[in-house]
Each structure stands twice: as structure tokens, then as C-alpha cells.
């Protein structure tokens, strides 16, 4: 089981800020992304945006990073702080 969180306009677009995902681990971030879309096909257009950023256990990662069970995986648009 992994914990998924969404932020900013992505959270608004999905109308969802977090969910639990049951997926065989370890798996890639891109597998997580695909599994979410499979369960929620209406989210495909938002979750396949290539500009989306991802963090695993609060560290920024690329889409080929491996995710272990119990991890927190965050998806969000490019950051705009400062």
C-alpha cells in the first residue's frame, strides 16, 4: 500500500488531495501514475501532463525512481514559491 498526495491546481483538478493505492512494490513512479489513471480514467488528462513533478518520501524524484511499500508519493505542478 502506498499513500498518494496531490497539491495546488492538480489537487483542484482532481478534486482529491490524497488517496491510498494498492499496488505491487517495489515499482516505478511511472507505474504508480499509470495505476492511478487506471483506477480513475477521468484523471488521465491531468496526470499525464509531462510538466508534473513528483516527490517520493518528500524528495524530488524522476519518473523512473523506485517506490517501496509504505512510501508517500506526491504529484504536483511545477513549483512557484519565492
Amino acid at each position: 500500500m502506498i499513500n498518494i498526495v496531490f497539491f495546488a491546481q492538480l489537487r483542484e483538478q482532481l478534486k482529491c488531495d490524497q488517496l491510498k493505492l494498492d499496488i505491487p512494490t517495489p515499482c516505478k513512479v511511472s507505474d504508480v501514475q499509470q495505476a492511478i489513471v487506471n483506477e480513475n480514467p477521468q484523471w488521465a488528462q491531468y496526470l499525464t501532463d509531462r510538466a508534473l513533478m513528483c516527490a517520493v518520501n518528500q524528495d524530488m524524484v524522476q519518473s523512473d525512481t523506485m517506490v517501496n511499500a509504505g512510501s508517500e508519493v506526491a504529484f504536483f505542478p511545477p513549483v512557484t514559491g519565492g
Binding site: 497539491f7 518528500q58 524528495d59 512557484t80
Partner: protein
Amino acid sequence: MPDTAHQEYDLLSVQNEDFDVAYEYAQLRENNSQDGAIVFFSGLVRDFNQGNDVTGLFLEHYPAMTEKALEKIIVQAKERWPINRVRLIHRVGQLYLSDQIVFVGVSSSHREAAFEACHFIMDYLKKQAPFWKKETTKKGDWWVESLEKDQKALDKWQKDE
């Protein structure tokens, strides 16, 4: 060479409250006859951004990650330049026109190091810390778009290495 006498003056804070630049500056100077250079950056809510008349903005962040991401940036800056004290404050929540958003203050014995480290921290913060701005304008609210130039600002530091 990090100096433990400086560490108690370091600060990293993500907060709703406003900050006081005079106090932050005093903390960079206090008991610090070693450092001849202090550089700081202060970011404010401005009235015109990406073509809109801005009246305020809401700053969302990823609480579990924010401080960790900022800490990493500060560690990188300290590894790269001989700086002593770093104070970084980033506000979150609802802000209004001309409000202070972010403060980065750096002290060093060396002018060049203080300038570069402060600039580096801001450039990295812009691209690697999980903050998102939603602007309130007279025509509605919208999320600020990430800028190409902020990526270029980051690339500059990689070319330098």
C-alpha cells in the same frame, strides 16, 4: 568549515506570520566580528504579474516536505561557498499586496560568497521547494505559471561547476 558558534544563529522557518527584516539582520550581525559581508534578499507581493492586476495571493505548500527541501538547498550552499550564517523564512497562507513573502540572509567573510550563496538559495528555492502561489486578481483567482527563466536561472549554477 562550518563554525558551531554560528549555527545557533541559523534559521529556517515556514510560517504564516510576517517577519522583521531588522531583527533578521541583527541576528546575522550579533557576536559576529568575523563576517565582513551580509547579503539579503526579500521577496514581496507585487501588483502586476503575468499580465494581471494582483490584489493578493494564497501560498500553498507541502508541509511534510517544505523544510526538508529548503534545508537541502542551504546545505548545498554551505558546501559550495564559505558562508557562516543563513536565515531563511518563507511565508505561507493568505498574503496581500506588498506583503513580505520570503527572506534569505547570508553572512560571510567574503563579499562574493555572500552574494552568490544568497542568489543560489533563491534560485533553487524557486524551482525545488514545494510552494505554489494562487493569485487573487480583479478578474478572478488563478495559479501562477512556472517560468522558463527560473529554470534558466538554475542552469546557470550548474554550468559554473
